[in-house]
Symmetry: C2
Subunit: 255 residues, 2 copies
């Protein structure tokens, strides 16, 4: 007889990864279910084992862990080979072994929801293929908070990840996204590595039409959080400097 399977539980992390300053109480941004679940899980698959241990220390401070941190199993997601879209399937089945043997397994990334703008989707896919129940717990998502705070169209939107870095390609992609936004009335969301925030803002202002609305959200859920939405014209007339050490979400909607 097959033993009952454990679930794959997607555990959200806070959004203050890598942001200097006071570490907030995780209860401020994570619901009680998340903290309770994180405290009881003994097996984890993580984007990064070190930041997962840091997260679990914060959990332990408000809800004691079921087992000491040292005895927990924390396995890192395999990084896909350069150029490959996903890790080999064999690796993923190995990671799911605890769930196949009846133990709930947590999946966590460095910030926000796992498998959204982050690695992990291939593992979730492998879980579905193995008939392992997948449970996503509610937590902060910088993308959706930025979208809500932008005032841009929240009834139709797309997240397109990172833009190309090379100037000509980047300009072409920006114009392509603006055309798509105009045609479908769809808000286009993108992210950038923090030290390139200013460069992306500059490229957007250089290539977008004056009437297109552009929203930038920085450091959401932290004390430094801000969202500015204005036309490209308005941004140019009154520039805002962006921090180079805080993640930002950029959103555009063509007029």
């Amino acid at each position: 007889m097959t033993p009952p399977r454990g679930s794959l539980i997607l555990v959200p992390n806070t959004l203050d990864f890598g942001i200097a300053g006071e570490v907030s109480d995780i209860r401020d941004v994570l619901p009680a279910t998340v903290i309770r679940t994180a405290a009881r899980l003994t097996h984890w698959v993580a984007e990064n084992a070190k930041t997962t241990r840091a997260f679990l220390k914060r959990v332990d401070a408000v809800e004691p862990l079921a087992q000491s941190l040292q005895t927990l199993s924390i396995v890192e997601l395999p990084r896909p080979q350069k150029g490959a879209r996903a890790a080999p399937a064999a690796d993923l089945s190995r990671l799911l072994a605890p769930a196949l043997q009846g133990t709930d397994l947590g999946l966590i990334s460095e910030a926000g929801l796992p498998a959204v703008a982050d690695p992990g989707a291939a593992l979730v896919q492998a879980a579905h293929a193995a008939a392992i129940r997948v449970v996503a717990l509610s937590g902060p998502s910088s993308l959706l908070l930025a979208l809500a705070a932008s005032g841009l169209n929240g009834q139709s939107f797309a997240f397109v990840g990172y833009l190309p870095i090379e100037g000509t390609e980047r300009g072409a992609r920006i114009r392509e996204l603006e055309a798509l936004s105009r045609r479908a009335g769809q808000t286009q969301l993108m992210i950038e590595t923090p030290y390139r925030n200013e460069a992306l803002l500059g490229a957007l202002l250089a290539h977008l039409q004056p009437t297109t609305r552009l929203s930038v959200s920085c450091g959401l859920t932290t004390v430094a959080a801000f969202t500015r939405t204005d036309t490209v014209q308005g941004w140019k007339a009154a520039p805002t400097a962006l921090p180079s050490d805080v993640p930002a979400v950029f959103a555009l909607l063509a007029a």
Copy 2:
């Protein structure tokens, strides 16, 4: 001298709106900041005043409201005229009056994050135009939870709202979304009124290619939550009946 302005605070609601059965403890799904903020706000703009009062009763049970429910100001968002995309700007400025006079103003919808797959974006836009600070608080989003739990591409995705109801148009739209998904490798997310869940599933299975992956999530964050992801072929070989009284999120990714 102008008085300091209040902020427009986007307050997430739970996802169990209209779902029969036990009402869970809101602390299970909402972080402490949300509950604390909701308890202190005296002025609200709401998708629906009645469900806002029900939400505030649940808040009051775990964190006493600063003022009695009867004395709170709760104003409903104007519904756009049939055919119009938005409410008149004058109405929106009127709603923002408390913030202009220095009082924080809450915006809340019937479920999930306001202004995402829900009304409210026009008010947020008016707030930006009036230099009112906009703060989005973290809460559950059925769209992002469904995306995370689907195992489909979370690095590129789009939410397209509702599909046309009429059969021919609906079929054409489904094929268009599948082509878009194939071309851009982009997960396409959509929602439906619960009593039409089965009809939308039937249309998706009728029009999508056998190898396209389809994910359906129902009742996320409630006890009845489930997510199934399979190829169209797999869904056809082993059908799952969908509930007609629980909101579902549908996601597709072409092979």
